[in-house]
């Protein structure tokens, strides 16, 4: 270890087509150091790691600019296997373990200790006998080094999640010549005590001279574990700090930052304090990847409430739970009446409409015309746009055409006409069709989930302006869920930040970046100040 840095990634840039996802990023890791890599979703952390591991997705899209140095020597890593041979290991966020195999077998998978036998002499190395004794003693050693007392012959199947995490770590440590370990959000699935144990294990590993890159969004863990911290934002390097030179508040602020100007400017106003439109009490939603674990909040009539937070933290689960698109539990009252969860038609009948974040999956009938999409919900829920002939019903083509033309004009949906199939529209126009469908319901309460995901900037502006107009002119109560904090800040009256399925805090749009950053990593800004963790 003659070089100062075990890993140097200098001036890395990566473009996917027109889209620059990494722009001149530099990451330097010393031997035996725990180096935290911080950033919001989409800041470029994953891409940087893909470059480090030589993932095929990088090479398939034209490679990258910049250089990677290992122990001060320039190298080129061509594949994940190559990375492994060069002493770089990864502890995955989703476990890559074979459930039916024992701990030992998992740890030694594809690196088994073998003895030669009669058959293998004839047929080659693949038929050598496993030396189970040597393998299990090696596994034992690795397990001990991560502080796990579990028997090395236990099967992985049925183990607690935390144990699996440690088995993964043990597997990486067992690899000979490992110099650098990457931990990708290792604490996301761990309990608090397991997380604490993990941090101490990481410190142990670091002490033995192995460098660690620690990817997380939990700022307190960063402060507890890391020696140095690199912060990325929007594919750019913000800064690299040593732990002692920074504070949790500063990190939060650096992570969020100001991203350009507000896209829509609204007149500042008092937060509406009218009647409670939606009262949510202890809501639990079982939406895969976006679980909500006991959230309570009120929405007042006439306000725009923003819900923010990092991806996978449960913000999307809230509207989907209230609309009963996923199994949900809890007490929800809408305009003073109790809403029974379990069937989407209850919420729709109560006057709530939703623009789903999953446009193609839930939001649209891609194979059907724009007009059929727009009137569908209103037709099914309110029985509108139908001609009744005795017990029979028929679509009322004229009314449908009229409302579709009006929506196309109002929302500026760019199309060949109301009979064009929704699947052939661009993302932004599809989003407008989704909004038109919600508006055709004439709702009193509107959920908008990720309304600007995957659409161009002009369409974004128009969508946000439409929401503001609906709110101001028709007094529609709107709850907007978005990953883009800037967007939430530009139109919301209040912003609710969700982390790990729970409500962290409700902040005014003018709150500081640091406050938002802290809230997103699960720390209530007020409490943090009271706790006096700041330097």
């Amino acid at each position: 270890m003659s070089a100062e840095y075990v890993l140097q990634m200098n001036h890395i840039s990566k473009r996917y087509g027109e889209n620059t996802v990494l722009n001149d990023v530099t990451l330097q890791v010393r031997p035996g150091e725990i180096h935290a890599l911080l950033g919001e979703n989409g800041a470029g952390k994953s891409t940087l790691m893909n470059v480090l591991f030589g993932m095929p997705v990088i090479h398939a899209t034209g490679g990258f600019d910049g250089e990677v140095l290992l122990d001060g020597e320039k190298t080129s890593i061509t594949s994940p296997h190559d990375a492994m041979l060069k002493g770089i290991g990864m502890v995955h966020q989703e476990f890559m373990l074979l459930p039916g195999f024992t701990v030992t077998e998992n740890i030694k998978l594809n690196r088994e200790v073998t003895n030669r036998n009669f058959v293998s002499r004839l047929m080659g190395k693949n038929l050598e006998t496993l030396d189970m004794k040597a393998m299990s003693s090696a596994a034992r050693k690795a397990l001990d080094s991560v502080g796990m007392s579990i028997d090395e012959y236990t099967r992985v199947e049925g183990m607690p999640v935390g144990y699996m995490q440690f088995v993964e770590i043990a597997r990486e440590i067992d690899k000979t010549g490992i110099k650098l370990l990457v931990f990708d959000e290792p604490t996301a699935v761990l309990t608090e005590s397991e997380a604490t144990q993990l941090v101490s294990v990481m410190k142990e590993i670091a002490k033995s001279g192995i460098a660690i890159i620690f990817i997380t969004h939990r700022l307190d863990e960063v402060m507890a574990a890391a020696d140095a911290i690199t912060i990325l934002r929007d594919g750019r390097l913000v800064t690299c700090r040593a732990k002692q030179d920074t504070s949790i508040v500063e990190l939060a602020e650096l992570m969020i930052g100001r991203k350009g100007e507000a896209m829509v400017s609204t007149e500042p106003r008092e937060v509406p304090q009218g009647n409670v439109a939606l009262k949510v009490c202890d809501l639990w939603v079982n939406m895969p990847g976006e679980e909500v674990k006991g959230v309570s909040f009120d929405v007042h009539e006439g306000e725009i409430l923003g819900i923010g937070g990092l991806a996978g933290q449960g913000k999307l689960g809230i509207p989907n739970g209230v609309m009963s698109l996923y199994d949900a539990m809890g007490d929800v009252e809408i305009f003073g009446e109790k809403l029974k969860l379990g069937n989407a038609s209850n919420a729709l009948n109560a006057g709530i409409a939703m623009v789903s974040e999953d446009r193609k999956g839930v939001g649209l009938l891609l194979d059907q015309s724009i007009e059929d999409n727009i009137v569908f919900t209103a037709m099914q829920i309110h029985g509108e746009y139908l001609r009744k002939i005795g017990p029979f019903t028929q679509k009322n083509d004229k009314e449908i055409r009229d409302v579709a033309n009006k929506m196309i004009a109002d929302l500026d949906i760019r199309c060949f006409g109301p009979t064009q199939h929704a699947g052939t529209l661009s993302g932004g126009n599809q989003q407008k069709v989704c909004i038109a469908r919600a508006l055709a319901m004439k709702p009193r309460f509107l959920f908008v989930s990720e309304p600007t995901r995957g659409i161009d900037i002009g369409a974004k502006k128009l969508v946000l302006e439409t929401l503001v107009r609906l709110n101001r002119e028709q007094g529609m109560t709107i709850v907007m869920v978005s990953s883009e904090l800037q967007e939430l800040r530009s139109i919301s009256d209040r912003i609710m930040i969700v982390s790990e399925g729970q409500l962290v805090d409700i902040l005014p749009p003018g709150a500081s970046d640091a406050d938002f950053g802290l809230a997103m990593s699960g720390i209530k800004p007020g409490e943090h100040k009271k706790g006096g963790d700041a330097p």
Binding site: M323, L325, N343, A344, S345, N346, A347, L348, N349, M354, S356, D358, G361, V362, G363, L364, L365, L366, D367, Q368, D372, F376, T377, M379, Q380, I381, G383, L386, F392, T393, Q394, K395
Partner: protein, 628 residues
């Protein structure tokens, strides 16, 4: 750009070729009825006649020589005392050989013969024969008209007697009038006499050419001569083909010109075919976009078959009329695919559930002996009730096995057919029309007749245009059912159902009960299957039990796919287009295939190939963009 140019070049070449063919055809076609055509026919006729009679003449010489040889052998044998029989055998064989050798060459040198007299005689005789045949045909038709009612009554009585006796009643054959009581009319006799005079003249002329022929020998050749000169329904192409088949092509001074005249109509068809090909090449992209590749292939194949029936003179209009009937009889079963696809169970290959329900309805009607329309309606009602119940159970199964509909429906279809094979043996129907005369169980094929609902839709308001029969009732019923299904797809429930098929999660997000909609679609599909098999049976004239319904689900599925549907999207127009193309290809394919490969089962092979191939094609598509 270059591709575009290439297309244009190919199209221009094709159009040019078409023009050449069209001009050739248009110039030559009228020649058939003019002097040129007549001369060709005359030349061929003389040659054929001489050929045919020439053989007879040689035989006469041979016979004479043999007789002489036999007499000479007897004498020689007597003189030498040799074995009489052996000597006769030797002499006769030798004489025959020599005679044949002598005349074989001279008889082929027809140009040397003076045929002026014969030509005139034959022309007169041909006209006389034509007169006679016209008169005879008229008289025969009059006789048939007078006796047809009698014959039909007798056939019906015989049939009834068979049924009463519990015997197997086969397919109803067209009633024919027994012509044994027919006596030639006076007019016929007069015409006959005139023709006989003509024949005498021909005989005389022949005798002039072949001195060896005598009146008796000519009389033995009368049948041959008459057949050569004129046959009922003769016209240019028929005569040309007949004389060519007899090997008379050497009589023609200009074979190519005659050939062009003979095939002038085919040249015109060819020109039309080339124009179609040119249009296809030119508008290939547009067609691909509008129709999709499978429909283009099947459509072009259908057009090709149409031209081939024209080339082979197979009677296109009759075949198209048959296609129309088969389209009508199959269309309701194809229509049954629509609710299935729209509600998201994909292709309802479990259609046999509906089919057996419909068959049971039909059996009940025959058992109760309800005739005509009431019987047909009763069959539909009973069939629909059974189909609705069975379809509901089937839908419960499909709702528990979401995502694997394709295999579930296929296996359900196969299973129900096998299960019903047992049921047909034990169901308590007692009518002798339904049961085997001996043993237990229902017949394999149950013939329908006028006492129940055979052709009840086909014959309703049916009319004929030339040889093209329009099954008005069948087509009206088909359109009515399509209209009803179309109305349903536009109702609130129908809209919700198609949303379920299109995107179940979208439907769920709107509070629609996905399972309920799938049940509605499945039941509707099964009920339509029941109606479909009854419509099919009434047109076909039989109800087929046991394993017959097994393949019908696949046929219906491939028909709608050919029409342009995918496994997740379909329209009523797909039903109509698909059924017509699929059935049209099969109907036209059979006679054309028999013409190309006589006695083959290519048509059946074709059916299996098309129906299964198109389903596979659709499945490859459904895995791609349709589901993404």
């Amino acid at each position: 750009m270059t591709k575009n140019k290439l297309q244009r070049a190919v199209a221009i070449v094709l159009v040019a070729a078409a023009l050449v063919l069209a001009v050739l055809g248009a110039v030559n076609l009228p020649k058939r009825t003019t002097q040129t055509g007549q001369e060709i026919i005359d030349a061929l006729r003389i040659r054929t006649l001489l050929n045919a009679t020439g053989d007879g003449v040689v035989e006469s010489y041979v016979k004479i020589a043999q007789d002489e040889a036999r007499a000479k052998a007897r004498e020689d044998a007597k003189a030498t005392g040799a074995n009489v029989m052996a000597t006769i055998r030797d002499y006769v064989a030798k004489a025959e050989e020599e005679t044949r050798a002598k005349y074989a060459s001279s008889q082929t040198d027809y140009d040397a013969l003076d045929t002026t007299a014969l030509k005139a005689a034959i022309s007169t005789y041909a006209a006389q024969l034509a007169d006679y045949q016209a008169v005879a045909q008229q008289a025969e038709q009059a006789y048939i008209d007078a006796h047809i009612a009698e014959a039909e009554a007798a056939a019906a009585a015989a049939r009834q007697a068979k049924i009463d006796a519990g015997q197997e009643v086969g397919e109803e054959k067209p009633v024919t009038v027994d012509m044994s009581g027919f006596v030639a009319t006076e007019e016929m006799k007069a015409a006959q006499l005139k023709a006989d005079e003509g024949f005498a003249a021909v005989g005389e002329a022949l005798c002039g050419i072949y001195p060896v022929l005598d009146a008796a020998a000519v009389n033995t050749l009368k049948g041959t001569i008459t057949d050569v000169v004129y046959q009922r329904g003769d016209e240019f192409t028929v005569q040309y083909d007949r004389y060519m088949a007899a090997g008379s092509e050497k009589a023609l001074e200009n074979g190519t010109a005659a050939f062009l005249i003979r095939y002038a109509d085919d040249l015109l068809y060819g020109a039309l075919a080339l124009l179609v090909a040119a249009a296809t090449v030119l508008y290939y992209e547009l067609l691909c976009k509008k129709l999709g590749i499978p429909r283009i292939i099947i459509g072009l194949f259908f057009i090709l078959l149409c031209f081939m029936t024209l080339w082979f003179d197979l009677g296109l209009s009759t075949l198209l009329s048959n296609s129309l009937v088969r389209m009508g009889m199959n269309s309701i079963m194809v229509l049954a695919m629509v609710p299935g696809i729209q509600c998201g169970i994909s292709l309802n290959l479990g259609l046999p559930i509906g089919l057996v329900a419909g068959l049971i309805g039909g059996l009940v009607t025959i058992q109760l002996g309800v005739p005509g329309w009431p019987g047909f309606l009763l069959a539909i009602v009973v069939g629909c009730v059974i189909a609705a119940v069975a379809g509901w159970l089937y839908a419960q199964l499909l709702n528990r096995l979401k995502g694997d509909e394709m295999s579930v429906t296929t296996y359900v279809g196969f299973s129900i057919v096998s299960l019903m094979c047992i049921a047909w043996l034990v169901l308590p129907f007692t009518s002798l029309k339904l049961r085997w005369p001996m043993g237990t169980g229902l017949r394999n094929t149950i013939g329908l007749d006028n006492t129940n609902f055979k052709h009840i839709l086909d014959d309703f308001l049916a009319f004929k245009v030339g040889s093209f029969t329009v099954p008005t009732g069948l087509l009206l019923f088909m359109l009515l059912m399509c209209f009803l299904v179309w109305l349903f797809t536009r109702s609130k429930t129908g809209v919700a159902m198609s949303a379920v098929g299109n995107n179940p999660r979208f439907a769920e997000a709107t509070g629609i009960n996905v399972d309920k909609m799938r049940v509605i679609g499945t039941v509707l599909s099964t009920v339509l299957g029941a109606i479909g098999i009854l419509v099919y049976s009434q047109s076909y004239g039989f109800m087929q039990l046991y394993t017959a319904p097994r393949q019908m689900g696949f046929i219906a599925a491939s028909a709608i796919l050919i029409g342009g549907a995918s496994t997740s999207r379909c329209k009523i127009s797909h039903v109509l287009i698909g059924t017509f193309l699929f059935q049209g290809v099969l109907t036209l394919g059979m006679p054309v295939a028999n013409e190309l490969v006589p006695g083959s089962t290519i048509s059946e092979t074709l059916r299996i190939l098309i129906s299964n191939g198109i389903i596979l094609y659709a499945l490859t598509k459904s895995g791609g963009e349709a589901r993404a």
